[in-house]
């Protein structure tokens, strides 16, 4: 629209989706990401739930849709700025300034720092991993313990840093249940004889195909689901992990030694997005994610007509939701700018 300039902070799935829409409506678009690659978290995943589609293929599709006219700045962080009526001023990490007529915040999420749940020993015990590290192992095609052995037993623990008031997190991170089930199935294919457990509070299989995946995990892939949270982990002399939990369906305490413990860490607001939000005067919810105008309607809008929110900076999302919200936020911004000028 008349070459108006829009900045998208974040080139994850939400930012990429937004950037594919706006140039076609006549905007000049700059997309900035502090990482050196496009795709945000998607670039770290291997196969996607629920259909095990390759993450690389989706990433390619998303980047292919970005018109050449979009100016992309990678390895650059937006560190500050201000919003005034009709204009946005942004500061980048090297002190550079950018002026724009509109802003899309697509700053995404950070994974919960598993070290904060000290009782599980992440970063201390050799064989405690996060699901993100398991994705990386899948990408490398090699699942092994820190001592380069093929694991004979693996336990997944759900809700690490989610639904945990002690960790200061009340919300559910939404995607970790199905990720845990998906990864358990992927592991079974690579390790036909291993014992694989998922320790959960309840399984939130809300999306299309999720419940079916869970059914398959039990019936076809022999994954053992234990309803109970692990209370503590310890390392044994051979580097395996001893876990204690309560099986709440049988009301029995349980002690188990596994070669790998995988923590399904939750999503939390990206550190960069918190600081930036404070500087731009954007409002945070009680959960510290950026707060849109409404939770049902106008989920992209902020109190500024020319600043919109997209993707997981407003709370845990699936890729489907992040991509949809990227496009919708772009349209919402377009409508807003259109109204302002007409």
């Amino acid at each position: 629209m008349d070459g108006k300039h829009i900045v998208i902070v974040g080139a994850g799935p939400a930012g990429l989706a937004a950037s594919s829409v706006l140039p076609r409506l006549g905007y000049r678009v700059t997309m900035i990401d502090r990482s050196n690659t496009l795709g945000g978290h998607l670039s770290k995943w291997y196969q996607l739930f629920p259909d095990r589609a390759a993450a690389t293929v989706l990433l390619e599709q998303l980047t292919d849709e970005v018109p050449d006219s979009v100016s992309t700045m990678l390895g650059r962080e937006v560190t500050g700025g201000s919003v005034s009526s009709g204009a946005v001023e942004l500061t980048l990490d090297h002190g550079e300034h950018l002026s724009a007529n509109g802003l899309i915040m697509a700053t995404g999420f950070d994974l919960f720092d598993a070290r904060r749940k000290e009782e599980y020993g992440y970063g201390i015990y050799d064989n405690v991993f996060t699901q993100a590290e398991i994705e990386e192992m899948f990408r490398q095609g090699q699942i092994e313990t820190r001592h380069h052995r093929k694991p004979r037993s693996i336990a997944f623990l759900h809700c690490v840093g989610s639904r945990d008031l002690k960790a200061g997190v009340a919300y559910c991170s939404k995607v970790c249940c199905v990720t845990g089930v998906k990864q358990a199935i992927e592991l079974r294919e690579l390790l036909p004889d291993a014992a694989i457990y998922n320790f959960y509070m309840d399984l939130r299989m809300f999306g299309r195909g999720f419940e079916e995946l869970y059914q398959q995990a039990q019936e076809r892939y022999n994954i053992r689901f234990v309803r109970g949270r692990i209370s503590e982990a310890a390392e044994s002399s051979d580097g395996s992990v001893i876990i204690k939990a309560e099986d709440t369906l049988t009301s029995r305490p349980l002690k188990l030694t596994v070669d790998m413990l995988v923590l399904l860490t939750g999503m939390q607001p990206a550190a960069g997005s918190l600081e930036l939000a404070a500087k731009l005067g954007l409002v945070l919810g009680d959960d510290s994610f950026l707060k849109p105008y409404g939770l049902t309607q106008q989920t992209f809008k902020t109190s500024y007509p020319h600043v919109v929110l997209a993707g997981s900076c407003t709370g845990p999302t699936t890729l489907t939701e992040a991509i949809l919200s990227g496009r919708s936020a772009a349209m919402a911004l377009h409508e807003s700018l259109f109204k302002l000028t007409n």
Partner: protein
């Protein structure tokens, strides 16, 4: 095990520990269990480190064990604690140092309660005044006596006569550190190193040349656990807990266990004897047990104090193997001679557990 990971956590759990002028609150049970430990603390503080410590004969038990056994209620224990603080205030002191971990937990819990529910503080002031006409100030600093030794561990290392090193092989001695549950499990930020990987005793072992063992049941209770032992019918649980720990630490061949709570060294020491008598099982090499020390006893050994002055003859598990490894010489003929020169009498020999200087 990734040592750096623990250091990362320890950074988040640093606590302030006063530098001098302490009011020392003794434990109600420790002097019966390990008679010289508190005296050793005073000796180290006053004579090695030149600190002022007031050892007050007027203070009482904190009633913590009775509180945890549901015999004493919260307003009562708050009033008892307030009286201890009144005695500290009367001395013009404000740094309170309990010798007992249960007490430390009690003081911490009560100070937190007073902070969050100020009406309970007012009520306690009122109760104390009505009962005793005393008034009190809240301490500026609350630290357990092991925190205080931790603070000065480097100064102690500089004065050490012996190190936690095998004097023949030159290899570090391997120690299990056992922290009293009430030290930091309730309030992680009140303990050096936090609740999951406490550093208070590990730091001493490291500073004095030893190596710390991390074994799977490290966090588990020693077996005292109040109701497990105090309620007689539950004593089997107490024994089972200790046994679980011994079985778990045994493969790591510890040279010693060091503790900072009154109950832990007692149970970890005595139950080794009971297990040896009932099952013929011992946890050290050649029929020995694993020596169990209080942190004051360990400090005293490092500083070259005479083992019998440290009261090590009151232990059921022989400490001599540890003394031998450290290169400490001792006179077995004086083991059961009291400070006044009179014979203390010698205990009977256990069936399996190897001991030294015993009678029949």
């Amino acid at each position: 095990m990734i040592a750096e990971g623990k250091r990362h956590i320890w950074k988040d759990y640093q606590k302030e520990i006063a530098d001098n002028n302490y009011y020392y609150a003794r434990s109600c049970v420790r002097q019966n269990f390990f008679p010289a430990s508190e005296q050793t603390f005073l000796r180290v503080m006053k004579h090695e480190l030149g600190k002022e410590v007031f050892d007050d004969p007027l203070h009482t038990t904190c009633t913590g064990i009775a509180y945890h056994a549901d015999v004493v209620n919260l307003p009562t224990i708050m009033t008892v604690v307030a009286r201890q603080f009144a005695l500290m205030t009367r001395q013009g002191l404000s740094n309170f140092v309990p010798s007992c971990i249960t007490s430390f937990g009690i003081y911490t819990e009560i100070l937190e309660t007073w902070e969050h529910f100020p009406e309970t503080l007012e009520q306690t002031r009122d109760f104390l005044y009505k009962a005793t006409k005393r008034e009190f100030k809240i301490p500026d600093n609350l630290a357990h006596s092991s925190d205080v030794i931790f603070k000065f561990k480097e100064q102690i290392a500089a004065r050490a006569m012996f190190k936690l090193v095998n004097h023949i092989s030159g290899k570090p001695l391997r120690g299990v550190e056992h922290i009293g549950c009430h030290y930091a499990k309730m309030f992680p930020h009140k303990g050096v190193g936090g609740a999951e990987y406490p550093y208070v005793l590990a730091g001493m072992i490291e500073a004095w040349g030893g190596e710390v063992i991390d074994y799977p049941e490290r966090r588990h209770c020693c077996g005292f656990g109040f109701r497990q032992y105090v309620v007689q019918a539950n004593r089997g649980y107490s024994l089972a807990h200790s046994q679980k720990k011994f079985e778990s630490m045994e493969p790591y061949s510890p040279d010693f266990i060091v503790t900072n709570c009154p109950g832990c060294p007692f149970f970890l020491d005595r139950w080794q004897y009971v297990i040896s008598e009932t099952e013929g099982k011992t946890y050290g090499p050649d029929g020995h047990g694993i020596p169990v020390l209080t942190f004051e006893e360990l400090t005293g050994l490092v500083l070259g104090y005479d083992p019998w002055e440290l009261g090590l003859q009151a232990h059921q598990v022989a400490v001599e193997p540890l003394l031998d490894k450290m290169g400490i010489t001792y006179d077995l003929s004086r083991k059961f001679v009291g400070r006044d020169g009179n014979k203390l009498g010698t205990p009977d020999k256990p069936t399996h557990l190897k001991v030294y200087g015993y009678g029949r």
